[in-house]
Amino acid sequence: MPAWKKIREFVAEAAVKASGLASIFIVALIFYFLLREGIGLFQAYRLPDFLAGKNWYPISDPPEFGILPLIFGTLLVTLGAAAISVPLGVAAAIYIAEVAPSRLKEFLKSGVELLAAIPSVVLGFIGMVTVVPWIKTAFGVPTGLTALAGSVILAFMAMPTIVSIAEDAIHSVPKNYKEGAYALGATKWQTIYRVVIPAASSGIVAAVMLGIGRVVGETMAVMMVTGNSASMWRGILFPVRTLTATVAAEMGETVQGSEHYFALFAIGVALFLMTFVINMTADMVLHRKRK
C-alpha cells in the first residue's frame, strides 16, 4: 500500500473515531455550559432557597427564585398526562401488537407515527382552540388555560413514545410462551393478561418512563395551554407554570448576566438532570431482562 493511501486510511479512521466520540463530548458540553451559567445564581442566592423557595418572583425587588411552584406545576401536569396516556397508551399497544388484524395494525402504526410527527406548537395551537374553551365551559372556570388542558395535550405527546416502545416489547415476547398458554387451553385474552403482559412488563415500564421523560421536557404546547401562573398547589382546574415554560417564556426578557438569567440556566440544569435520571433508569429497566 503506498504511503499516501496509508495516511488517508489513518486520517479517515481518526475522523470517524472523533465523530463517534462526539456525542459524549456534546452531552458533557451541554452540561458544562448549563452549569457554567447556572452556577452564577448561587454567588448571592442560596441553593435551598432556590430548590425549596415557595415564590418565583424574578423581577420584584429583591427578586425571589424559588422553583417549588414550578416543580409543582411540572409535577401536576405530568401526573395528569400520565394518568391519561399510560392506560390508553398501553391498551393501544396491546391492541396493536396482539389483537388487531394485520392490515389494521399497519394503519394504526402509521397513525402513531403521524401523531409523533405533529410539531408541539401545532398541538399547542389546537389545544388552545379546542381543549381550552371546552374546559372553560364544561367546568365553569374563569379560564380554560389550566393544568388539565396541559395534561390532555401532553398526554397526546407522550402517547407515541409509550405506544411504540410498549408495542415493541409486547411484540418481542417469544412465541412459545403464547403457544404454551394456548396449549393449556387459555383463551387469547387470558394469554395476553397472564403471560404476554408479565413477560413484557419491563419494556412496558421503560415505555412509560420514556413517555414521562418526554412530558417533563415538553415546552411549547404546555406553555400555550397552561396559563403560566407560578403558584403553589391549587388544583387541576387552575393555571400552572412548568419549569420548561418558565425558561421559554422569560429568557427573552432577561438581561444577560443578571441573576434572573442565571436562575433560568439553573432551571435548565435541574431539567437536564431530571431527564438524565429518567432516561438512564428507563434504559436500565429495558436492558435488564435481556440477560
Binding site: V16, K17, S19, P87, L108, A117, V129, F272
Partner: protein, 283 residues
C-alpha cells in the same frame, strides 16, 4: 363467581379497541380541523408575500424561508457528523466500555428537553462563540438536537448490510475505508436518507431550540447571510396564537397548515423511501 372466559375476552378486546380509538380519533381530528380551517387561507399571496400590518395580513414568506435555511443548516452540520459517528459505532468500535458510554450519551442526547437545547445554544453559540442570534446559531442548535435521530437510523442501516459484502471487498484487496465507501455505504444509503429526512421533519417543527438562538418576532425581509436573524414557521405560529391579539383565525390555521404539511411531507417521503427499498432488498 367466574365469568365465561369468552365473555371476558370480548369485553377486554372491546375496551382495548375503545382505548385505541381514543388515541387515534383525536389525531385524525387535529389533521382534519387544520386542513379544513387552513385551506381557505392558503393562496399564492399567503405563501409568497411578507407579513403586513403587524402580521395580521399578508403572507408568511419570511417564515417559510427562515425554516428552510435553519433546516438546511442543521442537516449540513448533523449529517456528516452523525454519519461518521454511525460508521464508527458499527464498523470501527469493538464492544467496549467506551462503546456503552457512547450509546448512553446518544440516549441522553435524545432525551434532553428541547428548551434545554435552546439554553445550550444560547450559552455556547450565541454568547461564547459570539455568533449572536443568527441562522448559524439556530442551525447548530437544531443540528445537535437531531444528531441522535441521524446516528441511530444510520447505524441501523449500516448494521443491516450483510457481513459477506465486507468480506468480499476486503478479500479483493480493498482497504477498510474503500470497503466502507464502496461496499457498505451504497447499500445503507436508503436507511441513512430515511433517518435524515425524519431529522429534517423534527428540526422544521421545533420551536424551543430556536427561541433564543435565532427566531425573530417580526422581520419582514429575507435573510442576507448566516449571521442574520430570521422568522421561522413554528415560532411564527406560536407568536400568532399567543402574542398578537385580533389575528384573523384563517392566518393562524393557514400557518399551522403550512407547517404541518411540510413536516408530514417529510415523514411521508421517509416512509415511502423505506417501503420502496425494503421491497427491493435482495438479501
Amino acid at each position: 363467581m367466574n365469568m365465561n372466559p369468552r365473555v371476558t375476552q370480548r369485553i377486554a378486546f372491546s375496551a382495548l379497541l375503545f382505548s385505541t380509538l381514543l388515541v387515534m380519533v383525536p389525531v385524525g381530528m387535529v389533521i382534519v380541523v387544520i386542513l379544513k380551517q387552513g385551506a381557505g387561507a392558503i393562496s399564492w399571496e399567503f405563501l409568497s408575500q411578507m407579513p403586513r400590518s403587524g402580521m395580521r395580513a399578508g403572507g408568511i414568506l419570511p417564515a417559510i424561508v427562515g425554516t428552510f435555511c435553519l433546516v438546511l443548516g442543521a442537516v449540513c452540520f448533523a449529517l456528516p457528523l452523525g454519519l461518521l459517528a454511525a460508521i464508527y459505532l458499527s464498523e470501527y468500535s469493538k464492544d467496549t466500555f467506551l462503546n456503552r458510554i457512547v450509546r448512553l450519551a446518544i440516549i441522553n442526547l435524545a432525551g434532553v428537553p428541547s428548551v434545554v437545547f435552546g439554553l445550550f445554544g444560547l450559552a455556547l453559540f450565541v454568547n461564547f462563540f459570539g455568533f449572536g442570534a443568527s441562522i448559524l446559531s439556530g442551525s447548530l442548535t437544531l443540528g445537535i438536537m437531531i444528531l441522535p435521530v441521524i446516528i441511530t437510523s444510520s447505524r441501523e442501516a449500516i448494521d443491516s448490510v450483510p457481513q459477506s459484502f465486507r468480506e468480499v471487498s476486503l478479500s479483493l484487496g480493498a482497504t477498510k475505508l474503500q470497503t466502507i465507501r464502496h461496499a457498505v455505504l451504497p447499500h445503507a444509503l436508503p436507511g441513512i436518507l430515511t433517518g435524515t429526512i425524519l431529522g429534517v421533519g423534527r428540526a422544521a417543527g421545533e420551536t424551543a431550540p430556536i427561541l433564543f438562538t435565532v427566531a425573530a418576532f417580526y422581520l419582514p425581509r429575507l435573510p442576507g447571510s448566516i449571521f442574520d436573524q430570521v422568522m421561522a414557521l413554528p415560532y411564527h405560529l406560536y407568536v400568532l396564537s399567543t402574542q398578537v391579539p385580533n389575528v384573523d383565525s384563517g392566518i393562524r390555521y393557514g400557518t399551522a397548515l403550512v407547517l404541518l404539511v411540510i413536516v408530514l411531507l417529510m415523514n411521508a417521503i421517509a416512509i415511502a423511501i423505506r417501503a420502496h427499498f425494503r421491497s427491493k432488498k435482495k438479501w
